[in-house]
């Protein structure tokens, strides 16, 4: 009995601490729960039991996970608290942050049941000590060699996502949250590293966000919690400036920029070629050129004024279009309007699939990872469960249709 009381007291104390941190009055919280203020006070003193739905409502009102109230060591407990800043845009208030918090909860559930992952983040290059900018640039160079993403700008976002997933075993979530203050985020937990990119922004900007969040992870920007959240990517702290410097150097290495300038001099052609090959936004490229002192602040301001539309109008109205090639020119234009495709966190999805089969989670969070209706997902799984193994074995052992002509083989519809 004494032990139980101490458990209740500890829970009450945590609820009170979170409430005070969130700037919520006890009376206000009681009203949200539709309970008497004295009952709320007794909960915080450990003198009254907390019902399951009350606990969940308390957590919701305070903007934390219920697991944070129950387990101080859990990842959700280390996620930052949405402080009250009424009237201000906070990166930890919207649907995107709620999604990340929910993913950290799912990770906690499947990990608790033994479905863990061993990310390879420790094998990646580590930051050396020194001046922040030099540290970021050196790390970016070594990270680029390690991840070895060799392609032009058109495929660069997708290839970088794949390299992060494959070589670091870090989850990447690319999902659109319209009008959300969160552009990107990095969960740096050693058991569940995850990069989030809000694909409401166009691919060139999303690419920079992806590299920026990778920078946070590799630079070990843990802060006090296990996540860094980014709204505008403005360099308003040293960690943000360093992540920006990392992303710029990673995506636009100085040596390559020098090569373009040497080959084409600094003008529309080199700008267009760099834009195409790096896959970055025009604004990022201009910033980079200025930061590398290739252009002065007047040149930067002028280029920003004309924007990528100005550059493209120069290309389309001159021989440059032929120099670049019509395909490159067309892709450069279309890319400005493209957004990255949705991508679920594949490692978490894999763990969830195994956990689902053993009754650790229901179909709902699994379907939620893929943004699929859970009922349809469940119907499909149940249908496939019964015949999958048998079908696959049957297909492997079946004879080839050598008697069919090419006309017959190609008559079906391969895309459903």
């Amino acid at each position: 009995m004494r032990m139980l009381r101490s458990v209740e007291t500890a829970l009450g104390a945590r609820i009170r601490a979170y409430r005070e941190q969130a700037g919520v009055q006890s009376r206000e919280l009681a009203a949200r729960l539709e309970i008497d203020p004295s009952a709320m006070s007794n909960i915080e003193r450990g003198r009254r039991s907390v019902k399951t739905d009350e606990l969940v409502k308390i957590a919701e009102a305070l903007g934390v996970s219920p697991l944070a109230l129950l387990d101080e060591e859990s990842l959700p407990a280390r996620m930052p608290l949405a402080a009250r800043r009424d009237g201000e845009s906070s990166t930890i208030k919207g649907a995107a942050y709620a999604r990340l918090l929910a993913l950290s909860e799912i990770h906690a559930v499947v990990s608790d049941a033994g479905y863990a992952l061993a990310p390879k983040l420790d094998l990646a290059p580590e930051p050396e000590s020194g001046y922040w900018k030099t540290v970021a640039e050196n790390l970016a160079r070594r990270a680029a060699e390690y991840l070895a993403v060799e392609c032009d700008g058109t495929r660069r976002f997708a290839k970088l996502v794949e390299a992060i997933e494959d070589k670091l075993q870090v989850d990447v979530l690319v999902e659109k949250f319209e009008d959300d203050p969160l552009s990107g985020a990095a969960i740096s937990d050693k058991d569940f590293p995850l990069i989030f990119v809000n694909s409401q922004h166009r691919t060139p900007r999303s690419l920079f966000t992806l590299a920026h969040e990778l920078g946070h992870l590799l630079l070990r920007h843990d802060h006090d919690s296990s996540i860094t959240v980014d709204g505008s990517l403005a360099g308003n702290s040293e960690a943000e400036r360093q992540a920006n410097a990392f992303a710029a150097a990673f995506l636009m290495p100085e040596a390559k920029i020098d090569q373009y300038i040497r080959n084409y001099s600094l003008g529309p052609e080199s700008l267009a070629r760099m834009l195409y090959d790096f896959g970055v936004s025009f604004e990022s490229l201009v910033f980079r050129l200025h930061n590398l002192r290739k252009i002065d602040s007047t040149g930067r301001d002028r280029l920003q004024e004309i924007g990528w539309q100005g550059l493209l109008s120069v290309i389309e109205g001159s021989d440059l279009r032929d120099h670049l090639g019509p395909e490159k020119s067309a892709r450069l234009i279309s890319r400005q309007g493209e957004r990255p495709d949705f991508r679920p966190p594949i490692w978490l999805a894999s763990r969830c699939f195994a956990a689902y089969r053993k009754g650790v989670i229901s179909v709902r969070p699994l379907a939620g990872l893929f943004n699929v209706d859970p009922e349809i997902f469940l119907d499909r799984i149940q249908e496939l469960d019964e015949k999958s193994a048998e079908t696959i074995e049957g297909v492997a052992e079946s004879p080839r249709d050598e008697q069919l002509s090419d006309d017959e083989l190609f008559a079906g519809s391969p895309v459903v």
Binding site: L4, V7, E8, L11, S49, V50, K51, T52, D53, L55, V56, K57, A59, E60, S65, P66, L67, L70, D71, A95, A98, R99, L101, A102, L103, E105, I106, A108, V109, D112, Y356, R357, K358, G359, V360, I361, S362, V363, R364, P365, A367, G368, L369, P374, E375, L378, D379, Q382
Partner: protein, 181 residues
Amino acid sequence: MTALRLYDAVTLQHFGTIGRLDVLEARCRYLDPPHWTQAVADEINNAANTGQPGCREILAAKWLSAPLAPQVADLRRIVLIQIGLNDGRRPPVAHAGEAEGIYFAEKSGGRFVTDDNGAYDFAERRLGPGHVLDTVDVLREAVMYGEMDDGEAVNIVNLIRNSGRSIRRVHPDTLLRGYFR
């Protein structure tokens, strides 16, 4: 703790709406109470306050006994289950009743009765076959133990459906008497 048979709110409301809670009561005749949890009782109470049919009858059913209330020491495991029952997009506010039911059924080696499709599938994988039932399973048991004939079972499902409620979608739209044997 003896093996419990715990009803979810959806199933209680199915039978409460058509005035046939006696069917569920008969299935608990030889089992120790309680037969519902605190979150289910609260859910029924909230539904009664919004005038949903059958809820007053459920709240008045003495055979359900006092709802099983979790201790603080139970909450972490219940919340882990509840997170697993939600969609992973926002705070896990729904499905507290199912989470408590599955937790206590697991803890007691008992059975959980629900007509929520996702919760049924989850509970079956977690607790094992035979430890989770839905309305059709309960009626099959009742037919098997001679508490009703298969024609009455068909009528009960039709009454539930005609009152605007749904049984699990795995069952056919038209149920014949043989389905309950």
